[in-house]
């Protein structure tokens, strides 16, 4: 499942996408992210899946543009910690 967490508002599109077929629930993103964006647990969008999966927590979903700002400076941008930490490459950002 392609899970898009985030939003579109007047200023643009801000989505973090998790491919739950790739995600193995290891939790590496949870420890890598300085903003506390991720959580790992039961998939609330797929009650019949048994394995844990990464999700974007409810408190973070509506403000990721602001939370992720420090990881996305205008200059000298490094690879995003979450994307880098995820071995199966399940995470991507829309902006």
């Amino acid at each position: 499942m392609i899970a898009n967490y985030g939003y579109k508002d007047g200023s643009g599109d801000f989505f973090i996408t998790i491919d739950t077929d790739k995600c193995d629930g290891c939790g590496d993103c949870v420890s890598a992210c300085p903003g506390g964006v991720f959580a790992v647990g039961e998939d609330p969008n797929d009650p019949l899946r048994d394995e844990p999966v990464a999700i974007v927590s409810d408190e973070q979903r509506k403000k990721i543009k602001y939370t992720c700002n420090p990881c996305k400076p205008d200059h000298d941008r490094h690879p995003l910690p979450c994307v880098q930490a995820c071995k199966p490459s399940a995470i991507s950002h829309s902006w």
Binding site: D9, G10, S11, K62, Y66, N69, P73, D74
Partner: protein, 254 residues
């Protein structure tokens, strides 16, 4: 040489007349339906205040969101350039200008000559600028000018979850129903705007001194919220909403 800077914003039109770096007069008029008429009125009021005829003004420069449609001026500069020029004229040590208007929040980093190094915007979403506070004041049933002073009496930080000006209004109503003290809600509202502005500021980085301009800088509660969020002092000029127009007038003299 006498020059004029005209700042056409979303809610107001500001004019500053400058002679050799000194301010002669300022005016501020609420934007009406007809921007051209409002602009003319603001210009006339500034002329009257300085007791000048319009022929005495050698050059005019426009700035602000409506600068492209200004019939009075020969030239325009961006809000970013105007903010930097105006702020550094007021405070030589200024390196970061944060400009919060009704519909837009802006941050500008500049060098000691007022040259722009970097900038960023919060725009097109009412949650990122002053308009956010307007709706909330309405929901709280306090005049907008009283929102700031009210927030300063708060002793407790409460969290607002809504990140949208429309949804936040309902949240304020819910908080009132839950008997949350109004001053705490007022503070939560201003903290929410400040945190979004500061997140943008951190994206481009900032250096001291920080000058806070734009109409929202008149709100003492917002200034406190900015200080808390930036964890440093900020300088607010006497007429924070006129700094852009001042910058434009100074640019006209160059």
């Amino acid at each position: 040489m006498i020059t004029a800077g005209i700042d056409i914003g979303a809610k107001t039109v500001k004019v500053v007349l400058v002679e050799d770096g000194g301010i002669l007069a300022k005016s501020l008029v609420l934007a009406g339906i007809d921007t051209a008429a409002t602009t003319q009125q603001a210009f006339d009021e500034a002329l009257a205040a300085a007791d000048l005829s319009k022929e005495k003004v050698e050059r005019l420069v426009a700035t602000g969101t409506g600068r492209k449609d200004c019939a009075l001026t020969d030239r325009e500069i961006t809000e970013v350039g105007a903010a930097a020029k105006g702020a550094i004229h007021i405070l030589k040590s200024c390196r970061t200008v944060i400009d919060v208007g009704a519909e837009e929040g802006r941050t500008v980093r500049c060098d000691e000559n007022g040259k722009v190094i970097d900038f960023a915007f919060n725009e097109k979403c009412a949650a990122g600028a002053g308009t956010f506070a307007e709706g909330m004041a309405r929901a709280l049933q306090v005049p907008l000018e009283e929102l700031g002073p009210l927030s300063l009496t708060s002793r407790r930080a409460v969290q607002m979850n809504a990140q949208c000006a429309v949804f936040a209004e309902s949240e304020v109503v819910t908080l009132i129903h839950a008997k949350t003290p109004r001053q705490d809600i007022a503070r939560a509202v201003l903290d929410a705007i400040a945190s979004r502005i500061v997140s943008m500021v951190r994206k481009v980085g900032f250096a001291q001194d920080v000058v806070l301009i734009g109409g929202v800088a008149r709100n003492p509660g917002f200034v406190e919220a900015m200080k808390r969020s930036l964890e440093m002092d900020v300088y607010v000029p006497e007429d924070p909403e006129h700094v852009g127009a001042l910058g434009a007038a100074l640019a006209a003299a160059e």
